[in-house]
């Protein structure tokens, strides 16, 4: 009887659900590592709560951040989330590298089940809770500023997206302290993730974390597309948008079309697991290929959802730090959209070996290679942008250069993999692991880091330390080559991916090189945190209040740093590409302006945090079969949304006088500040007012 009450109240949770109990019962190194990770989550959460209480930051946290609908703050919160999750997933990567380097004809330190959880959480986090929040955060912050808008189209929806994504990330973190995670990899292929093989909570954690995040991402995509199509300032034609906004648009469109297959794949897998459906089971007419097709119908466009915003960042960074307009703007736009279209035609190359005919494989192989064409166009455009420019090797620029070289290498191994016979040879080896890290580390992470360093002064009003930026650069690039080039060799030598133990002594030197590389990458992450700490400490000398530290060209640089809540005191009028640069050349960028009007901004709202909380509660209840919690969470979520639809007082007015005073103060400061030439832009002389580099001779 008491067991039944227990089950009704707490579902499947029992003492064994806690890694501390498991480690107490069975104190192996592997269990202790698990318990330590769980303890980190618990202690981290308690320490954070204590800090917030001690500093009396709870109220400001909610008032200024969590309930804010300002796209800039939401963007920053996304990037903070990405940073936290990056830290965890990178530590997991180091642990996996350590295991493999130790486990040549030896047990190593991590048990097989534990190792499988590590590669599953590493992949899941890196894609859904590091990469996606990072790029969503950058888009959120930058795009409205670039297109001359005061906010995104749907500010409340934006907050809901953030909180759903954060809820998913929270679920993955909770799985460290309560229960276990899936052992089915980031792609969660059934039938292995079905109840027949994994009856525990692992795959359920995976399913609901992904579902929360994919719903959030679909809504983000919708929001960004509506923002870019409907909220551009007067004169900002599509072909006058900065390239980052173009790539954001393409990514948004891909999100709208590519996230539903993922939502459906995880939903159907959940139906199999919870209600006994037979979509992907081995028996009674289930068909695993349906899952594989659904997953990669999402999965391949996802690659471009990840990479395109980074391409946008490189376009902005290379143009700014070469003091030149972007070479081949139109071709870059066309190439972006072509990549977007082609991304839906190649999903089958993720499973060449799964039994379709050679003709089908050939068609998809050729389609895959075609993507190299628009990508190649982009590479040449960036090189031509630098050609005869005033190139400065700042940290974001260095990341961009490392990207160009490294990404081309990864692309070459991609061409190899696009040939089905070769894919048959190296399928499921670490050659593939090397390839996609070779695409995603330069093609996503370097871009995100470059974007973070490039726009940081805009967001916070002071520059980041160049010195630590360069140290981070060295670590991230050297670390990448050391960690992943050996995997190409090992993959060609036949080492299968996701191996917990190895039996070939000849692999060891390469694995040792790889662990050194992984440690260097960890050093890169630490350098980023040191850079942040040093820069916050020295912020007084490095302020750039006027807002244009890099002599850049698009509208986000035409406002103060940090920008006011309403972005633009006056909505800009645009009549060409790079309109802000054109104004700077004519010394009109900071001219007196007016007349000012009242500005309407959205009030803060608790709806986002409440939706995130109820959604996560529902998911947690589903994971552990705590049905009352699941029902309560689901009902609560909709109750919040419906209640919100009855709220009419959703905006507040910032009076024109206040806007005018702030704007005039800033314009006066711009006239009083000394313009800094490019040679001095990384010194304390840089106050955010750029001395125009002599532009090219007019034709």
């Amino acid at each position: 009887m008491s067991a039944e009450i227990w089950y009704a109240l707490l579902g499947r949770i029992d003492a064994k659900a806690f890694p501390f109990v498991r480690a107490w019962d069975n104190p192996t190194v592997s269990e202790l590592i698990g318990a330590f990770a769980g303890a980190l989550v618990v202690i981290g959460a308690l320490a954070l709560a204590a800090l917030l209480t001690w500093k009396r930051w709870w109220r400001p946290l909610f008032r200024d951040w969590l309930t804010s609908l300002d796209h800039k703050k939401i963007g920053i919160m996304y990037i903070v989330l990405a940073g936290v999750m990056l830290s965890r997933a990178l530590v997991e990567a180091v642990l996996m590298r350590a295991q493999q380097s130790l486990a040549v004809n030896a047990p190593g330190i991590v048990a097989p089940e534990h190792f499988a959880q590590l590669f599953s959480t590493h992949g899941t986090i890196m894609i859904f809770f590091m990469a996606m929040p990072f790029l969503t955060g950058l888009i959120n912050y930058v795009v409205p500023l670039q297109i001359g808008a005061r906010d995104v189209a749907f500010p409340l929806l934006n907050s809901i997206s953030l909180m759903l994504t954060a809820g998913g990330a929270g679920l993955v973190m909770i799985s460290l302290a309560v229960g276990e995670f899936s052992t089915g990899g980031w792609s969660g292929y059934p039938p292995f993730t079905e109840t027949a093989f994994q009856p525990g909570v692992g795959p359920d954690y995976w399913i609901w974390a992904i579902t929360l995040s994919s719903l959030g991402t679909t809504l983000s995509g919708l929001n960004f597309a509506a923002t870019i199509y409907k909220k551009r300032c007067p004169g900002m034609h599509l072909m006058r948008m900065p390239l980052f906004s173009w790539t954001a648009l393409c990514t948004a469109i891909l999100m709208i079309f590519a996230m539903p297959p993922l939502t459906l794949a995880t939903a159907l897998l959940a139906l199999d697991r919870y209600l006994g459906f037979h979509f992907f089971t081995n028996d009674l007419g289930g068909n695993v290929m349906n899952y594989v097709n659904l997953f990669w119908l999402f999965g391949h466009p996802e690659v471009y959802i990840l990479i395109l915003p980074a391409f946008g960042v490189y376009s902005e960074v290379i143009s700014a730090f070469s003091s030149k307009e972007l070479y081949g703007y139109t071709s870059l736009v066309v190439a972006t959209m072509v990549i977007g279209v082609l991304s839906f035609t190649v999903w089958l190359h993720h499973f060449f070996t799964m039994g379709q005919s050679a003709d089908v494989n050939a068609a998809f192989g050729i389609a895959t290679m075609t993507i190299a064409v628009p990508t190649g166009v982009k590479i040449y455009d960036w090189i031509w942008t630098m050609f005869r420019g005033e190139v400065r090797f700042t940290a974001p620029m260095l990341f961009s250069l490392a990207f160009i070289l490294t990404f081309v290498l990864g692309g070459l191994s991609g061409i190899l993999l696009a040939i089905p016979p070769i894919d048959y040879m190296v399928h499921n080896t670490v050659f593939l692991v090397a390839h996609f890290h070779n695409m995603l580390i330069p093609g996503l992470l370097y871009g995100m880091i470059a974007g973070y360093m490039f726009w940081f002064p805009k967001a916070f009003g002071f520059r980041l330390s160049e010195r630590w930026g360069k140290i981070a650069f060295v670590c991230w690039v050297a670390g990448f080559y050391l960690a992943f080039m050996p995997l190409y060799v090992l993959g060609l030598a036949g080492m299968t991916r996701r191996s917990q133990a190895l039996f070939e002594p000849d692999f060891r030197p390469w694995l040792l090189a790889a662990i050194v590389g992984a440690l260097l990458l960890l050093g890169g992450l630490v350098s980023l945190f040191v850079q942040l700490w040093v820069s916050v400490r020295d912020r007084a000398e490095n302020r750039v209040p006027i807002g244009d530290p890099w002599d850049a060209r698009s509208l986000e640089w035409s406002v103060p740093a940090p920008p006011p809540e309403y972005n633009f005191a006056l909505i800009p009028q645009v009549d060409r590409l790079d309109a802000f640069y054109w104004l700077k050349e004519r010394e009109q960028a900071y001219a007196p302006a007016g007349p000012y009007r009242d500005i309407r901004v959205p009030r803060n709202s608790w709806v986002g945090p409440l939706v995130g909380l109820t959604g996560t509660a529902c998911a947690f209840g589903l994971v552990w079969h705590i049905w009352w919690l699941a029902i309560l969470g689901f009902a609560g979520l909709w109750a919040v949304v419906i209640a919100r639809s009855f709220v009419r007082d959703t905006h507040r007015i910032i009076p024109a006088a206040e806007v005018a005073a702030a704007d005039r103060r800033w314009r006066d400061a711009a006239w009083a500040t000394g313009a800094v030439p490019r040679q001095l832009e990384v010194t304390t002389a840089n106050r955010g007012l750029a001395k125009i580099f002599p532009s090219e001779v007019p034709a």
Partner: protein, 208 residues
């Protein structure tokens, strides 16, 4: 960004009371995008249904289980509910006061609930025949596709109730009009999906 003042079909909300310029346009546009995403979800469910048609695994198949008569009645009910929603939109467009609008919305709600009742009784018949969702891949696909539409209709019915409450609370203000326009899109969208279900599932299953 420029263009004529009539911003979308039927209703011109661009310069009504408390909306930001362009807010109505952006809101409706965003809802169209949502429907597009939802349409992809249904397209994939249809694709899965297609691949699973033969996967009956010894359980009852389409010919044995589908009754064209019941599906036809459901189709008529749902199409009629689209008509009544259209009449509600017209009542709103020409400012014919609250009564017409509320009557038509209530009629639509009634038809929606009737549709759900017929559909549920269909499902109950299938289940009593032993055609349950855990019997085969085919039945799994059926019970994913058709009830997903049913759940959408349920959400639509809840939404109508919410809108009736909003009309009671606020009258027919710009925001209520905007929400009703979105609800209308949603309702007609579900009709289109149902026509596809009727053709692909029921017609194909009983005639093919």
């Amino acid at each position: 960004m420029s263009g004529p003042q009539l911003r979308h079909v039927g209703l011109n909300l661009s310069d009504s009371d408390d909306l930001e310029p362009g807010e109505a346009e952006t809101g409706l546009y965003g809802f169209w995008i949502f429907l597009m995403s939802d349409a992809i979800l249904f397209a994939l469910l249809f694709a899965i249904y297609g691949t699973q048609l033969a996967a009956t695994a010894g359980a009852p198949g389409p010919a044995a289980e589908f009754k064209i008569g019941g599906a036809f009645v459901e189709t008529l009910i749902l199409l009629t509910s689209s008509l009544t929603f259209g009449l509600a939109s017209i009542a709103m467009k020409y400012d014919r006061g609250r009564t017409g609008l509320v009557t038509m919305l209530c009629l639509t709600l009634g038809l929606g609930i009737a549709f759900l009742g017929f559909e549920l009784s269909d499902f109950a018949t299938m289940v009593s025949d032993g055609a349950t969702l855990d019997r085969s891949g085919f039945l799994s696909a059926f019970f994913a596709l058709v009830p997903t539409h049913g759940l959408h209709v349920t959400a639509g019915c809840v939404w109508i109730v919410v809108m009736l409450a909003q009309i009671a609370a606020f009258g027919i203000d710009a925001r209520v009009k905007l929400n009703l326009l979105k609800l209308g899109l949603f309702w007609h969208f579900l009709d289109i999906i149902w026509i596809a279900i009727f053709s692909v599932v029921y017609l194909q299953g009983t005639l093919g």
